[in-house]
C-alpha cells in the first residue's frame, strides 16, 4: 500500500534513468544516508563505531570490489585480501616517504597500485575460467604476502614485519576519534559505492555483464575481451586496495601481512555469495551478515548461558558459535541461493502488491 509506484510518471529521460526510479526508494535511501551521516555519529557509542560499523563499512567496500569482478564480470578471484594488503602497505609507504601528500591521495594511489597488481594477476583470466582462474588468483594471494614479508622496503625494515599507520590528517584536521574514523570511512565508501553503481549502469558495466553471461557472444558483438577483463580486475582491485588502506588506517592501526591471509579472501568471497552475486546492496548485506553474526552469537552466548543457568565448557561454547554460524550460512543458501539481496528484492515485489495480491 505504501510501497507503490502508481502515479509516479516520468516525463524526461533523466527521470527515467535515475538510480532509484521509485520515489519511496529515494526517500528510504535519503533517510538511510541521514541516519548514517548524522544520526550514527551523534548517538552510537564508541564500541559500535569503532568495533562494528567501521569494519563493516570497510569490508563492505572490499566485498563491493570483489562483486564487481565476480558478480558483474564473472571472474572468480581468491586474491581479494592480497589486493587489500597491497593497498594497506602502499598507503603506508606513500604516507611515510611522501609525507606532504594528503592522506586521501595516498589512499587513492595505494588503490591504483593494487589495481596494477590486480591487472598483472588478471592476465591468466584471458585464457582460463572459473575454478581454474580462482586457483591462478590464489597464487597472487601467496605471492603478495610473501613479498610483503620478505622485502624489507614495504615495512620500512620493521624487524617484526608490522606497519603502524600514521595519523590521518586532512587539511590540518586529525582524524583520531572513532567517530572521525567512521565518518572518513563512510564518506569514502559512500562515494565509491555511488561511482560503482553508476559505472555498472554504464557501457562499461554492460560490457562486464556481457562477458559474464557469455564471453564468446560478447566477443562476437565486438567487446574486446582483454580490455574488459583487465579493466574489471583493475577496478575491482582498486576498490579492494582502498578498503585495505582503510582497514589499516581506520580500523586496525597496526597490521602485519598475516592479517590479510587467505582466510580473509574466503570470508570476502562468502560475503559476496551470501549477500548476492552481482548486487551492490548485496555487498553491504553480505558484509553485515558475516561481520556481525559471529559477534552477535558471541555476545548472546553469555546471557543465554546465564538465563538457562548452565555453564558450558568454554571450548564447547566457542565451537557452538562456529556451528551455528555455519548452519545459518547453509540455511540461507538453501532458502535463497541468490543471496540476501534477492530476498530483499522478493520482499519488495511482494510489498508492491500488498495487501491485494492478485
Amino acid at each position: 500500500m505504501l510501497y507503490r509506484e502508481a502515479g509516479q510518471f516520468k516525463t524526461t529521460y533523466a527521470a527515467d534513468q535515475q538510480v532509484f526510479p521509485i520515489r519511496q526508494d529515494r526517500i528510504a535511501v535519503a533517510a538511510l544516508l541521514v541516519v548514517a551521516f548524522v544520526g550514527v555519529p551523534l548517538f552510537a557509542n564508541q564500541y559500535w563505531l569503532s568495533a562494528i560499523l567501521t569494519p563493516f563499512l570497510i569490508l563492505a567496500l572490499a566485498t563491493l570490489g570483489l562483486n564487481i569482478l565476480t558478480g558483474y564480470a564473472g571472474q572468480l578471484s581468491l586474491g581479494t585480501a592480497a589486493f587489500m594488503a597491497v593497498g594497506a602497505f602502499m598507503a603506508y609507504n606513500f604516507a611515510l616517504r611522501l609525507p606532504w601528500m594528503p592522506i586521501l591521495v595516498s589512499f587513492m594511489l595505494a588503490g591504483l597500485c593494487a589495481a596494477a597488481v590486480g591487472i598483472v594477476f588478471g592476465l591468466p583470466s584471458l585464457r582460463i575460467k572459473g575454478f581454474y582462474l580462482a586457483v591462478a588468483t590464489l597464487a597472487c594471494q601467496f605471492f603478495v604476502l610473501w613479498a610483503l614479508q620478505r622485502v624489507g622496503w614495504f615495512t620500512n625494515d620493521s624487524a617484526s614485519g608490522v606497519i603502524t599507520a600514521q595519523k590521518m590528517v586532512i587539511l590540518g584536521y586529525t582524524f583520531e576519534s572513532p567517530a572521525d574514523k567512521y565518518m572518513l570511512t563512510l564518506c569514502v565508501v559512500a562515494v565509491l559505492a555511488v561511482l560503482a553503481k553508476n559505472m555498472l549502469r554504464s557501457e562499461t558495466g554492460r560490457k562486464f555483464m556481457a562477458v559474464r553471461d557469455m564471453d564468446i557472444a560478447a566477443e562476437v558483438i565486438g567487446i574486446r575481451m582483454m580490455q574488459t577483463k583487465l579493466l574489471a580486475f583493475g577496478i575491482s582491485s582498486f576498490y579492494c586496495g582502498v578498503a585495505g588502506a582503510l582497514y589499516a588506517y581506520a580500523y586496525l592501526g597496526t597490521v602485519e601481512p598475516e592479517a590479510f591471509n587467505l582466510d580473509l579472501s574466503f570470508r570476502i568471497l562468502f560475503m559476496v555469495i551470501i549477500g548476492g552475486v552481482g548486487s551492490i546492496l548485496g555487498s553491504f548485506m553480505g558484509a553485515a551478515f558475516i561481520v556481525l553474526l559471529p559477534i552477535f552469537l558471541n555476545t548472546v552466548a553469555g546471557p543465554i548461558e546465564h538465563l538457562l543457568g548452565i555453564t558450558l565448557p568454554s571450548g564447547l561454547m566457542s565451537n557452538l558459535e562456529l556451528i551455528v554460524f555455519g548452519a545459518l550460512i547453509i540455511f540461507f543458501l538453501i532458502v535463497e541461493p541468490h543471496g540476501l539481496a534477492r530476498l530483499w528484492q522478493i520482499g519488495k515485489e511482494k510489498l508492491r502488491l500488498w495487501p491485494f495480491p492478485h
Partner: protein, 440 residues
Amino acid sequence: MISKHLKSALLGVAMLGVAATGQAQNEQFIPMAGYWVGPFAAGGSGIYGGFIDYLNMINARDGGVNGVKLTYEKCEHEYNNARGVECYERLKKKGPTGASVFHTLSTGITYSILDKATADKIPLITIGYGRTDTSDGRVFPYVFPLVTNYWSQNTAKIKFIGSREGGMDKLKGKKIVNIYHDSAYGKETIPVLDAQAKTYGFTVTHIPVPTPGNEQGAQWLQVRQIKPDWVILRGWGVMNPTALKAAAKVGFPRDHIVGVWWSGAEEDTIPAGDAAKGYIAAGFNVAGANFPVVQEIKKAVYAKGKGEMEDQARIGSIYYNRGVVHGIITVEAIRTAQAKYGNKPLTPEQVRWGIENLNITEARLKDLGAAGFMQALKVSCADHEGGGAVKFQQWDGKQWKVITDWIQPDKQLVRGMIEASAAAYAKEKNITPRDCSKEG
C-alpha cells in the same frame, strides 16, 4: 498526603536501588579475550583455564582481593586481529570501573590495540609475548611485557647453548638455524640473534615456516643441508609437533633443538610421540600440580564441581600453570594498587600504577604457594619487564623435566637494543619519553 507517602516510598526504593548497585559494584572487572577454538586452542584454553581458575579460587577462598570481588567476561577472538580489536572495544568499558587490565594472548592483537589502549589509558599486560621494546616503560607507559620478553629469552637461550658447548667462546664458528613462525611473533627475535651472532662469532640462518605450519618438509631439508649444531624452534601451536616429527624424519638430534616457551608445552610434544624425546624448551614457569597454589585451586574450585578445565589431567600442565602465573601477576598488581588507592574497585589508571610498582619477592611467592613455580618479579617505571630469566626443561617422553636453574639474560645487550628500538618508535610517533625520576 498521598503524594508525600509516594515520595518517601519512591525515595526508599531509590535508596534500595543505590544500595543494591553499591553492593554489586564492589567488583573489579578483568576481560578475558582469548581463543578456545582454532589451531592455537590448546594454548588459549589452557592459559585462560588456569587464569580464570585462579581468580575463582581467590573469590572463593578470600572473598576477592581485600573484599573486592574479581569478575570477568570471556570473548572469543580466534587469534584473529580483527576479532581481537572487537573484543577489546567490547570489553573495555565493562564493570563498574572499566577493564582493569587487558590480556590478548596474541602478539598480533597486542600490536593492533597498543595505541588504542594507550589512548584509553588501559594497561596492557603481555606475559611472555607481545612487542619486546615495550619493556621500555618510559616510551610505553601502558604496556607491560612482564616476566620475560622474547629478546631476554633468546639471549638466555644462547647462554644455555654456550654452556652445553662448554663455554661462550666455543660458540665461534658454530652454526645455528632459527626456524620461526612467519608472523610478527616469529620475527621478533631475528635482530637479537643477528646481534649475538656477531658478538660470539656463530652463523645464524633464519628459516620461516608459513602459518599455521603443518607442512615443514622443505624447511627441514634445508636444515639437513646446512647441518647446524643447534636449531632454535620458534613455533606456535600445530607448528611444534610438526617440526619435531620433521626433525626426526631428517635425523636431526632432538636434544639439539631448543624451543621458545610457546613451543614447550605438553600439547607440543605429546602429539609428536617418540619424536619429541630429548627435546629442550625454555620456560618461565614450570609444570606440575604439586605446587600449593595449584592444590588450593583444586580444593577451592574443582572440589566444588566447578572449574574451567574439562580435562582435569591438564591441571598442572605447562599452559595451565602459565595461566596461574597470569592470575598471580594480575591479582598482585591489583593488590599493590589497592595498598595505595584503598580497597575498592580501581580504575585502569590506578591498576597501571599497581603494575608499575609491582614487587613479587621470593617471600611473597612462598606465601602464595608458588615458590619455584615462577621467578620473583620487580617492575619499575623504566623496566616494564621485571624478571627476564628462564629455566630450560627437557621432554623425557612423558613429562617436562627442569634441567637448569634460572638462567639470566644478557641484560646489557637486550636493554640497549630495547632502548634503541623504543627511541625509534618514540620518534616516529612523536612521543616524549617520561622522566622516570619524577614518577611516584
